[in-house]
Symmetry: C2
Subunit: 381 residues, 2 copies
Amino acid sequence: MKQEAFSVSTVPTPSVILDRQKLIANCRRMAARAAGAGVKLRPHLKTAKSAEVAALATSGQFGGITVSTLAELRYFFEHGIRDMTYAVGITPGKMPVIEGFIEQGAVIRIVLDSAGMVDELAARESGFKGRVPVLIEIDCGGHRAGVAAEGVELLDIARRIAGVPGLVLDGVLTHAGHSYHAADAGAREAIAVAERDAAVLAAGRLREAGHACPTVSIGSTPTALTGIALDGVTEIRPGVYVFFDLAQAALGVCSPDDIAVSVVATVIGQHRAAGHLLIDAGALALSKDTSAGEFRQHVGYGLVCDLEGRLLDGMHVADAHQEHGFVRCSAGTIDFDRFPVGSRLRILPNHACMTVAPYPEYQVFESMDRPLVQWSKTTGW
Amino acid sequence: MKQEAFSVSTVPTPSVILDRQKLIANCRRMAARAAGAGVKLRPHLKTAKSAEVAALATSGQFGGITVSTLAELRYFFEHGIRDMTYAVGITPGKMPVIEGFIEQGAVIRIVLDSAGMVDELAARESGFKGRVPVLIEIDCGGHRAGVAAEGVELLDIARRIAGVPGLVLDGVLTHAGHSYHAADAGAREAIAVAERDAAVLAAGRLREAGHACPTVSIGSTPTALTGIALDGVTEIRPGVYVFFDLAQAALGVCSPDDIAVSVVATVIGQHRAAGHLLIDAGALALSKDTSAGEFRQHVGYGLVCDLEGRLLDGMHVADAHQEHGFVRCSAGTIDFDRFPVGSRLRILPNHACMTVAPYPEYQVFESMDRPLVQWSKTTGW
């Protein structure tokens, strides 16, 4: 199908459309933030899972990225990227794949947060092939993973890493995922400060104890886009900023007009009695993520735009079955004559990472008079 | 990776495990129901998206299936299936793909519910290649799609279909999706009766008006597994019964022990202070579907079993980020010493259709002493 010249009016539905100009602007905004704060930008490609997006996100940067699956690691290695942090807690079962890439010359940092996992890694019969840089994960208040910056575990883990041939302590990593629930800019900035301070404190303690700690890595999109000073931090790892989404707009991190990603869908039915349009983008095509609903009403599974990308007042995907989306209007009744069966709509997603994940490729939009271009991506694990 | 002999202890995580014996028992149960009711079984393969599962589900049946995406249509055609109903409202843009398979000898039924869509199809410049059988969708109370069985639209649509060369009215189709919210067996049976009666009434009205109506198609797993008589119905189209899931168990349609599908995950961290285990199966690996939560507490994103598949009292996936699952225990505190980092768990999903969709293949379990076998599936659209 890649040989056909599709437009948003003819591309098979559902498809994910990327607005290239918005994507470039979003990448520039984060690059400027990193430059202004004097830190490296190691974009998290778990959002886009795409080499073409990685090229834009790393343009003018040092070239390292962050990933969250072995599938992403394989895909980006095949696309020439040689510096990756696998930012999900490591397990011994994943080491053969990672070491395979290290043996081929890649630098792959792994992440852990327990002495137990250091012991599990050390106990592997195969030993280590090459030297594996390790980041200790720090809990900066999100209470997902990580050890306390001020606790005894941090130094215990560092000591054990130093005792395992093949492991090299590279530094600390934290992620303020709880910034996605910050109710206002003040709360978001407080979380950003806590994220920075936790990482810097942990790094300082490691250095005092005699460990080298070259990497001090923090980041989420909401915290990265505050204006706080980042003294002591060496890199940020935001991800969703490349696309943005309704959740980020609800947080005030971007405007809805910055959102570079949408799902194009076809109207497959009108149920005038029930008051909805049916579209061929449902729970798989949009995901069941409803995160923007934490902050505003009538978002449902996404906000509805016309084919040119203009928001349609009050129209949202109110319910979603596997392949059926239900479009309702919170600003009165739907103008059914405007949206006949066979017409098309574009849906802005709640959470871009969740929505784009299952798609096999992107359809990249430059302007209404140019055909869509296909960009590759990976899926699965 | 398919050459390696994996077990549930060594397969990469997250992976989807299918229990072949449970799958066979589930298929036999539905086959017996269809035989007992004297109707054909046209299983909906939107759940499994797999040729090997289709072979079990159609074993002893007439061989037709139901699909919900063009990707499924392509995949099952390539795997030799020649009788498919594409059970999502058609749009003109999908006709070239469908007609391509019809030209190659397949019977592909399409579904619509408006005179407007008949007109859209008739207006296509390309005309029709071959004869396309059409089912008119009936609303049996779920108010998703479909026309009323007793209304004037039904006959109007039939008349218009009869006037379009290339379209052939084949009958009626309905789906009682609202059975997924039936609070008890009585409510479920009432919905099953309404589903049957709507389809039979609509078919009768079409025949009275002079239209042939060979197909009277109904079905959802919850309604199919009531014991009501199905006089006047010609086929049922249940899907999720092949795997079952926590939502079906919550409805009383199956027991948790019948669930043939689970996600195997590795413990990647223990956050003792916060009271959870972290696993490497998160919102993408499990989906964000929480449907069983409509009926019972402490299900979250899935119930947790040991590696042999035995439910662990009170343990459930309480929260899910993109690649992180948070396992908590509603029956006291987690026994952290029992689940060290690197150990494995299996998660029963809320809604099997949503959970398995993004996986590239199945890992099929026969017994603990035999290696897993890989079965193919399709993904995307």
